[in-house]
Symmetry: C2
Amino acid sequence: MSDRQAVHDYIVRNRQRFQDELFEFLRIPSISAVAERKGDTRRAAEWIGERMRTAGLEVSIHDTAGHPIVLGEWRQAGPGAPTILIYGHYDVQPPEPLELWTTPAFEPTIRNGRIYARGSCDDKGQLYLHVKSLESHLAVNGKLPVNVVVIAEGEEEVGSEHLMPFVRAHRDRLACDAIVISDTGMVGAGLPTIGASLRGLAYMEIRVQGPAQDLHSGSYGGAVLNPATALARIIASFHDAQEHIAIAGFYDDVDPAPVFRANMERVPHDPAAFLEETGSPLAWGEVGYSTVERLWIRPTCEVNGLLSGYTGEGSKTVLPAKAMAKVSCRIVPDQDPAKIARLFEAHVRKVAPAGVTVEVLELHGGRPWRARLEGALVEAGARALKYAWGKDVVYAGEGGSIPIVPEFEEVLGAPAILLGFGLPGENAHAPDEWFSVENYELGTTAMAELLFELEHYQRS
Amino acid sequence: MSDRQAVHDYIVRNRQRFQDELFEFLRIPSISAVAERKGDTRRAAEWIGERMRTAGLEVSIHDTAGHPIVLGEWRQAGPGAPTILIYGHYDVQPPEPLELWTTPAFEPTIRNGRIYARGSCDDKGQLYLHVKSLESHLAVNGKLPVNVVVIAEGEEEVGSEHLMPFVRAHRDRLACDAIVISDTGMVGAGLPTIGASLRGLAYMEIRVQGPAQDLHSGSYGGAVLNPATALARIIASFHDAQEHIAIAGFYDDVDPAPVFRANMERVPHDPAAFLEETGSPLAWGEVGYSTVERLWIRPTCEVNGLLSGYTGEGSKTVLPAKAMAKVSCRIVPDQDPAKIARLFEAHVRKVAPAGVTVEVLELHGGRPWRARLEGALVEAGARALKYAWGKDVVYAGEGGSIPIVPEFEEVLGAPAILLGFGLPGENAHAPDEWFSVENYELGTTAMAELLFELEHYQRS
């Protein structure tokens, strides 16, 4: 039996134990957002550290001003061997609303081939399958084909505030040839997927001030400009009739992504399922692009919140002093969040009527990211996935943002690859989160295979 | 000394007592909106009833499902004498925010010729000066020149729910030749004013539904229509570039009010004071009309409230399921609130994009009103005011709505006259409400004089 076959047999043989251990991990309510769960969050860090140690890694736990960062290292692959950094997170989203869970969030349960639990998919299951793939190599062969550093953080669900400062401070120790991240999904069951892009984010708040205080809408209505009306006009100016964004210069840096667009024909998309999933009456968006393209390769300008005047029950005849909108742009390569925020503010100032004063605040920004879809890393990933699933990979964009991906690449100077095993409808941030039992095992197999594939990998 | 002179001397002689009594009235916190003040509100009803009785009226207090209605009657003016109905209210607005009052809301205090107290102007001071004018006639002459019914309600600040049912039920008892209401203001100090018009109201709520639940703005943004964006577009469609209302048929029934417009040149308007009063950066509104015209004779379409998505601190990347706006139109003669609500809804449905579903609720309506500016009643009012202030009256519109005015006229079949003594900046519904000491006395004089003027009045 080859080394490979032995490793993969080990995974199959230990199926039940791997699942039992994951259940233990899932029972720890490591909710990073909640102060009372600080102890549980640390417990999850220690638990995953201990498991990495048992697997054969050298483990260190690094305190931060928030939750700890866990490092697991194995550096005995010999001279010239590449170093692979694997990133994941052990913290989870809050489980609320609890009443919408079929079984309790922190009591993992299998139904219909799915592991239901908070964090099963995002990201404990996907982090732990890497640990199990490393264990399988070390248990069978006493070594890994490559050097490995696992970095597991506990603040992904609250903004990863201390991650990048840590990475920068330990740049040499974390030096690597590739960054592997399993925190995304596959485009469909049985369709192994490599992440091709992430949208970035530019998040702004518009504050419109009309009169100095709320006025009586009878005594003053018609003679001063209503800030809520002014805000509505500003928002209505963001798109043209084709739903193109009408902010000057907005598309200047957008990559039309023709190569990636060609792959899209292979992406399954069921329009009826999309409407059912969203509950929206119609698919809607930029003319000239499909739903999948609108989500993956086109930028957006979306209102996230609106507030003005009286919003309680019944009627109150107030002419509001203020109106506020939260607006965020999902941006695509090579748009820059700071530049988009500037263009946005310039647009708002240009269209804002003189009868009100307007302020634009830049709340948050994150860069978009694009995978290199050629080269040794992506080829290794594609072969590893094909080994496990027996099918060619699909390259999938992601509508959301993972700002740490481009940041990792920049600080460590190595390319990242997104190999995710979630599935559509996984409820990552909602009640009844689940992770496919099959994907847990095939993901472990694929990630074990990836290490073989990367044995002779050289960063290009 | 004539009867008139004697009555007016009596008012001057009793100045201090009239003020002391008003202070007693103002100390009763008759806040109709607040359940815990139900006892105080009744106490104010009993207090004003007792004062009417002392003045020489027959008093009855009528319970309603809300606060009581107080009637004071004097019907001995002899055969053929007209009957005058005087309306006022003894309830007041809540005083909050308390910290913005210079002296406590229910401890009347005089500063700079102003009586500061909640209800001083709206409407206890204006109601009580009628009671004092009646007392002055009866004390000096033992009779009134006309039959009088005073009706004082305790629910004006909460929508007058039980007033009109009471008036309808007592239509015969309340039969009259003219309705006198002092619950408005003068256009400026020393400028006696007769109310020429009131705007009505059509108050609607727009509910826009996009997706069935809030979505992640990254995962779905760009591929479904954002209901907040859709709502902004709907609101932006309400006006054209000249700030005319762009709802089809909206102006069909608007009276251009040319006679009234001519009088407007006599209305003082200080643009700088208006900006200071509102704190708005600019006067703004329908092209072709002055600020005063925009407030008095032109209809509006104003947003009163907006709500959608996430409105807390910081950034949350939500694509909202719902967006809501409260929108009200101030309407002018001869617009009808129900018709305007229908046109509004038709407009919203016409412009709403197909990617969302829209509901329009009609929350509240009130009719506009226009005074007859010729005839015996308005002439009597003008002479009475001129007697007190020594100046010709100004005919003033009112931007707000008093739906009971047209309702009184309709149910009782008699014309109303608005003789109000508030002044600009009186803070009727705000902290530091005040009523001019001078207007309290001159108002008493004018209203005593009005009864003489109406002695031979016949409804035309």
